[in-house]
């Protein structure tokens, strides 16, 4: 196998890296903003004894499951009209962010729900016994106690996003995945594919390491 790395347009590669990081960064922010409250609502409604809340859990859980089982590539295509009305375009970095958010927020919400379930029931009960309101229990007990779990969940989500952004390349989404597919897969330029994939691997490793460090830092048990 002959490889000639001089064929690579490093400027384009740099731009692709930047694009991927932008997609990751922006969508991570929106995933957090949407997924955290959704996860909290899932958690609270699953524990509630009220019939209304039980119904709500059923409905939300169903919607979340549907969004999670939809293949991401189909979600991108299905969301094109919505994406266009929000971002003005349905391709490129901007066009990829809404499908990424809608695709990954339910996933993150589930991870939030799971992390909150890990919080000791006794501590939540103690806070209620001290006269804490539901909002105070969320802010002062659930979130701080579940913090390592939430960070771990966000790490998993962002790592999953990396592979999602690669898929976005299929529909002209931009970024490293796009580069790997267009040059490597469609034009048989193995070198570009190898370098893009290597960069993606390094990116995932770094993200996972950062996440793990933060989890360790915030774990008090």
């Amino acid at each position: 196998m002959n490889l000639d790395f001089s064929l690579i347009d490093w400027e384009e590669m740099g731009q692709a890296c930047l694009d991927t990081l932008q997609m990751l960064g922006y969508s991570a922010v929106f995933i957090f903003i949407l997924g955290l409250p959704l996860g909290i609502i899932l958690f609270l409604s699953s524990r509630s004894k009220l019939t209304v809340m039980k119904w709500m859990y059923g409905v939300l859980s169903f919607v979340v499951n549907i969004l999670r089982s939809l293949p991401f590539i189909i979600l991108i295509v299905a969301m094109i009209p919505l994406t266009r009305s929000i971002m003005g375009v349905s391709y490129g970095v901007e066009g990829t962010i809404p499908p990424l958010v809608i695709g990954a927020a339910p996933f993150f919400a589930r991870l939030v729900e799971t992390a909150l379930r890990e919080v000791d029931r006794g501590v939540i009960e103690a806070a209620h016994a001290m006269g804490a309101s539901t909002f105070q229990v969320i802010r002062k007990v659930l979130l701080p106690e579940a913090l390592p779990g939430l960070i771990a969940g966000m790490t998993i989500t962002v790592v999953t996003l990396v592979s999602y952004t690669a898929m976005a390349g299929m529909v002209g989404g931009g970024g490293l995945g796009d580069l790997a597919i267009r040059y490597g897969y469609q034009r048989y330029e193995k070198e570009v594919m190898i370098v893009s994939v290597l960069i993606i691997i390094v990116m995932v490793q770094l993200l996972q390491m950062l996440g793990d460090r933060l989890v360790t830092h915030f774990t008090r048990k």
Binding site: G122, M130, R220
Partner: protein
């Protein structure tokens, strides 16, 4: 201070409804330490959790400090709960917060200024003897220290009532005693009403003023600790007491048939300073009756000494009768057995 009226709690389980509390009535006076003892499953846990409405009773009323908690909405209940603190078997501290922040927690719920919080927390830290541990996390503390943090946190909101849910059951005997002494101390110092539930008789014996025995969701016996402890009426109560004293149940004691002539078994109970007096030997010298001690205990109930002797008198029946009436004349409780 605490008034439970016709309290009933039933759980709907898949097969059949289970009754945890059945028409239970209970009244706890201001400033006393009231103990509820029962086996696991007797309903004591449900009982204490109904007082701050962590569990909603199926029917009945809960009154604390003259307020009917069962009639309140969520907001008012939250306000009332600040005056009813609770400590737990498994401490239930925030693992992500330091000792200091755990104790400050109830105060941060009501937007207390930081300077006030600091003064209060430092005062409580010194009360429970944990000043040098204030920046540690709960995972770095021993069980006894965690419960001290729990107690300090419970006191931070200046409560009227302290509920103790098996607060010493996860601790070793020595630590248990130090926690009990701390509870006794804060009860005296702050005139705090304490309601505790336990399955250990020595907890009741050490610090409680009054005790109730709960069995199958209802109270089967209650009264001042000395009375219940020394003259238990209900079978469940007796079992708790004799298991604790590691002695045999005096009522079931099997003795060999003696052929020493007439004997009479009696149980003599001493309470207070009298316990250390030579009453028995003075009286038998006067009446000429001999005695053998079959079983005996001398201990304290909340720092008041008591003694209980199971003796067998030997002699002529008239002398024995005279001995018994002389003992009674000295205000000793004498129970004639057989």
């Amino acid at each position: 201070m605490i008034e439970l009226k016709q309290l009933t709690k039933t759980y709907k389980t898949r097969n059949k409804p289970t009754t945890a509390l059945a028409n239970l009535n209970l009244s706890v006076q201001k400033g006393e330490i009231f103990g509820v003892i029962g086996h696991s499953g007797a309903g004591k846990s449900t009982l204490i959790r109904c007082i701050n409405l962590l569990e909603r009773p199926t029917s009945g009323e809960v009154w604390v400090g003259g307020v009917n908690l069962t009639s309140l909405g969520q907001k008012e209940l939250q306000i009332q709960r600040r005056k009813i603190s609770m400590i737990f078997q498994h401490f239930n501290l925030l693992s992500s917060s330091t000792v200091y922040d755990n104790i400050a927690f109830p105060l941060t719920l009501i937007r207390t200024p930081n300077s006030t919080i600091k003064a209060k927390v430092m005062e409580l830290l010194s009360l429970v003897g944990l000043e040098e541990h204030k920046d540690k996390y709960p995972a770095q503390l021993s069980g006894g220290q965690k419960q001290r943090v729990g107690i300090a946190r419970a006191l931070a909101s200046d409560p009227d009532v302290l509920l103790c849910d098996e607060a010493t059951s996860a601790l070793d005997p020595q630590t248990t005693d130090s926690i009990l002494n701390l509870l006794l101390d804060i009860n005296k110092r702050f005139k705090l009403t304490i309601l505790l539930i336990t399955h250990e008789m020595h907890v009741i014996q050490n610090i409680c003023d009054r005790v109730a025995v709960i069995h199958d969701g209802d109270i089967v016996e209650q009264g001042p600790v000395a009375q219940v402890f020394l003259k238990p009426q209900h079978a469940v109560t007796r079992e708790f007491i004799y298991r604790e004293s590691s002695g045999q149940n005096a009522y079931n004691l099997i003795l060999p048939n003696s052929n020493k002539g007439f004997t009479q078994r009696v149980k003599i109970t001493f309470l207070g300073e009298q316990t250390y007096d030579s009453v028995l030997s003075q009286i038998v010298r006067e009446t000429g009756v001999n005695f053998a001690i079959l079983q005996g205990t001398i201990s304290t109930i909340k720092q008041v000494p008591y003694g209980q002797l199971l003796v067998s008198f030997e002699g002529d029946p008239a002398g024995i009768d005279q001995t018994i009436s002389k003992l009674r004349a000295r205000n000793l409780d004498v129970e004639v057995m057989n």
